[in-house]
């Protein structure tokens, strides 16, 4: 074929988001977000070692609106990443690869993460 500068057909722009792909990218995003969470958690502990002024400053940040929203999001990400990770482990041993099971376990992972997050904030 003659070398022609052909356009690439549209992909992300037009493909309908579905549970399969959304949960997959969410798994990555929650993983990256959790790394950020670990950094903040370490910072919080380090601030404790540095003394009252640092800890007070850090604790104020934590209890701000942004800090609280992030805390909830981190806990949700942790549970979602955990449950979806179990889903991936099941797939790796060949379980639950039929489409109805994939959808069922997908909804279960999202709802389960929500419930566990709620329970943690009620009881913690």
């Amino acid at each position: 074929m003659v070398d022609i500068d052909r356009p690439t057909s549209p992909h992300l722009q037009i493909y309908r988001p579905q549970l399969t792909s959304i949960l997959s990218i969410s798994h990555r995003i929650s993983g990256i977000f959790l790394v950020l969470g670990v950094v903040c958690l370490s910072g919080w502990i380090i601030s404790l070692a540095l003394g009252e002024i640092w800890f007070g400053w850090f604790d104020a940040a934590r209890s701000s609106l942004l800090g609280q929203v992030c805390s909830v999001a981190w806990v949700f990400s942790l549970f979602y990443h955990l449950l979806n990770g179990v889903r991936h482990l099941c797939w790796d041993i060949g379980w639950g690869l039929d489409l109805p099971q994939v959808y069922g376990s997908g909804y279960a992972a999202v709802i389960g993460a929500g419930v566990l997050t709620g329970l943690l904030f009620i009881f913690a």
Binding site: M1, R6, S9, Y15, S24
Partner: protein, 261 residues
């Protein structure tokens, strides 16, 4: 690095508008991706409003109606019109499927039709599938045995034959591979669900003598393991096959082979 945005020359402009008896209840609105190398322009979306009788219930019937009655330059592949040749695979209402088995009645009022995603476009809805076919050739989809060919056919028990069910019905339409984000970003190195399903078909065949050789070929970071079990392939397959499960089984075969050696 994956390129998430379309390159400048691939971005889509608004195209022309056609109305053909477009009034009343039977009116259908179809938006179709158009690109023609001779125009020298970027791709565009043409809108067709079509009323009146259409010969059949499927999206392919609508495309044929457009080509027959409105714009004969509209280009798409089609052949069997009954879901067995795989020619009319395209992206309809956001998912890859066959135009000939997708009823118009199941779709929203405006039907959006694009070529299969992330491929070089030859014209309109016809993408270049050369890479897809090359990958198919890489897995060497034929029976391999050492030694002389026997005089009689190689018999297979019903149970051994049943192991191939769900992997030999693939019609090579490319709906699965081009629905896979991992394939979009790595189609140069990742074989994609269709080729891997075909690979599994020969790995699962008890008559094939090249199992270890086939597994060894797939054992690198990209060819097989760029599958992240997203499952878009299985949800797209118009034949109801499950390439993701086949890939998962190949991964297991690879791991158990390494344990055995």
């Amino acid at each position: 690095m994956a390129q998430f945005r379309l390159p400048v020359g691939s971005r889509i402009a608004e195209g022309r508008y056609f109305n053909y008896n477009g009034a009343g209840e039977s009116m259908r609105r179809v938006q179709v991706y158009r690109w023609n190398q001779e125009s020298g322009k970027q791709p565009q979306i043409d809108t067709f409003e079509i009323g009146g009788e259409i010969a059949g219930p499927m999206v392919l019937d609508v495309l044929i109606k457009i080509k027959d009655s409105i714009d004969s330059t509209l280009t798409f592949r089609r052949s069997c019109r009954e879901g067995i040749c795989g020619s009319c695979a395209m992206n309809i209402d956001g998912v890859n499927t066959l135009a000939c088995t997708t009823p118009v009645a199941d779709l929203p009022e405006t039907i959006k039709i694009y070529p299969l995603p992330h491929l070089p476009v030859i014209k309109d809805l016809v993408p270049d599938l050369e890479q897809f076919y090359k990958q198919h050739a890489i897995v060497e989809p034929w029976l391999k045995q050492s030694g002389e060919a026997p005089d009689e056919e190689r018999l297979q028990s019903p149970a051994a034959r049943a192991a191939l069910d769900g992997s030999d019905e693939c019609i090579l339409c490319a709906c699965c591979s081009t629905s896979c984000p991992s394939y979009w970003w790595n189609s140069d190195a990742y074989l994609g669900p269709a080729a891997l399903l075909q690979s599994y078909r020969w790995l699962a065949d008890n008559r094939d003598g090249a199992r270890l050789e086939r597994l060894k070929q797939l054992d690198d970071a990209f060819a097989l393991f760029r599958c992240h079990t997203i499952m878009n392939c299985t949800s797209a397959c118009p034949k109801g096959l499950n390439p993701a499960r086949a890939i998962s089984k190949i991964k297991k075969m690879l791991v158990s082979r390494q344990k055995g050696n």
